[in-house]
Amino acid sequence: MTGCVLEVCATGPLALLQDLGRPGLAHLGVSPSGAADRGAYQLGARLLAQGPLAAIEVTAGGLVLRTHGEVMISLTGAVAPADVDGHSVGYGAPLVLGDGQTLRLGAASAGLRSYVSVRGGVDVPPVLGSRSSDTLSGLGPAPLVVGDRLPVGPAPLDFPNVDQAPTLPPTGGPLVVHATRGPRSDWLADLGQLAARPWLVSSRSNRIGVRLEGATPARDPRRVDAELASEGVVRGSVQAPPSGELVIFLADHPVTGGYPVVAVVDDADLDVLAQAVPGQLVSLLLGRD
């Protein structure tokens, strides 16, 4: 299947190339980046019996691709209703598209990010070992635009042997996210205030982080006007700036931050947060240290 191309006919609000990112370069100021919903991205790759090759991360649906050459794809993540030449196709299964067919994604009724993976991966030159688009620094491929012709890489040696991988699609209802105490939990008067009531996902959320609106948690009296020297932060860090909006870092988080990290979200729930839609409610549950 070499020589195949995916032509971008529409992108929706944002379509980016992602793989597992470029971890291990934080000392150079480079964010790890990579697919925001790791689980969905990795399932997409497994369905095509391949390693972490570049896929398309579609935000809020709307992607339209035309094939040049026969390709095999998979759809995972938020269920943006999909059709090929007008015929409905499903998520969680390998799909073969013939030459000259059009894949169209609508708008998801729940969840935010869908992954369109292609067997062979999107074969553009990697930057610092990854084909991920880092929206904070601009490293990596540019966001997809109409007219892009995405080359498909050579098929891997393994052959797909999974017909269908049923998964629970992201929910539109209130989300529950588990977290543990962070390095600067003592900057809050009462860490339990994070869990006291649900937070609202802000429309200012993006791949850098999910922003949550709600009552500002009170600072410990000794820290009220204090400043923190910038320090390394991880994906899932829950930052509590003085203004009240919490930020939970996602894939394109900066390497260091100057606001106290009061909690860290569990790995498994980062995929849940990557699917959070503005207006959705999120409850934070603090686990045992």
Partner: protein, 218 residues
């Protein structure tokens, strides 16, 4: 070198080490990298070592934080030069015409020519990065420049290549961005370039000498 109370929780794959000052940070980062080079079993899973002004963040790929914790608690100072392993030495030619040069002179009580002389007299060392790809916090410069504060209000646009001072550090901006440091000059040297391997010119450990491009040699 590190005691248990200095290890702060940071999720299932990381520990934040609170060290209090940059000298202790550089010593700890050097000791960790020394253990990694020696293939110490406690550190084989490390993904990132992120030093900052007063802390070092260590992240691992797997779930065994206890193994990392034991390794950190038994760290000893690494042999070798103070702080980080000696790296390459880079010369950065600077046109000392920055918009904050007069302000820095005023703050330090020096003449502008003396500020330039102080900045170029001693080598600086890249201690750590973080703010953006290729941005390095340089330490070790002339003491007279150590009290220069950040600007009261940041600029929304600091041109790429700007040479700056703040809080005891110096830096070269790798690309145009907002910034709150005092700008004393500019360089044509590109400190971040994807065409170069490695792309960061001032990786941690690199020695930097600033050179007055327009001055008479001292």
């Amino acid at each position: 070198m590190i005691i248990a109370s200095q290890l702060l929780p940071c999720g299932a794959h990381a520990l934040l080490i609170e060290l209090g000052d940059t000298r202790a940070v550089l010593a700890a980062a050097a000791a960790i990298r020394d253990r990694m080079a020696a293939r110490d079993g406690a550190f084989t899973d490390v993904v990132d070592v992120v030093p900052a002004a007063t802390t070092v963040l260590v992240t691992i790929a797997g779930p065994d934080l206890d193994r990392l914790r034991s390794g950190l608690l038994r760290l000893e100072s690494a042999p070798g030069p103070d702080g980080d392993a000696a790296g390459a030495e880079v010369v950065v030619e600077v046109h000392y015409d920055g918009p904050d040069l007069d302000e820095v002179a005023r703050r330090t009580g020096l003449e502008v020519a003396e500020v330039i002389a102080a900045h170029t007299r001693t080598p600086w060392r890249a201690a750590f990065g973080g703010f953006a790809p290729g941005f390095a916090y340089l330490v070790g410069g002339d003491d007279r420049l150590s009290g220069v504060p950040r600007r009261g209000s940041p600029r929304s646009r600091v041109p790429s290549g700007s040479v700056a001072l703040a809080g005891g550090y110096s830096a070269v901006y790798p690309r145009t961005s907002p910034g709150g440091w005092q700008l004393i000059g500019r360089t044509d040297v590109s400190v971040w370039s994807l065409d170069r391997d490695p792309p960061a010119l001032l990786a941690p450990g690199t020695m930097v000498r600033f050179f007055d491009a327009d001055g008479t040699s001292s």
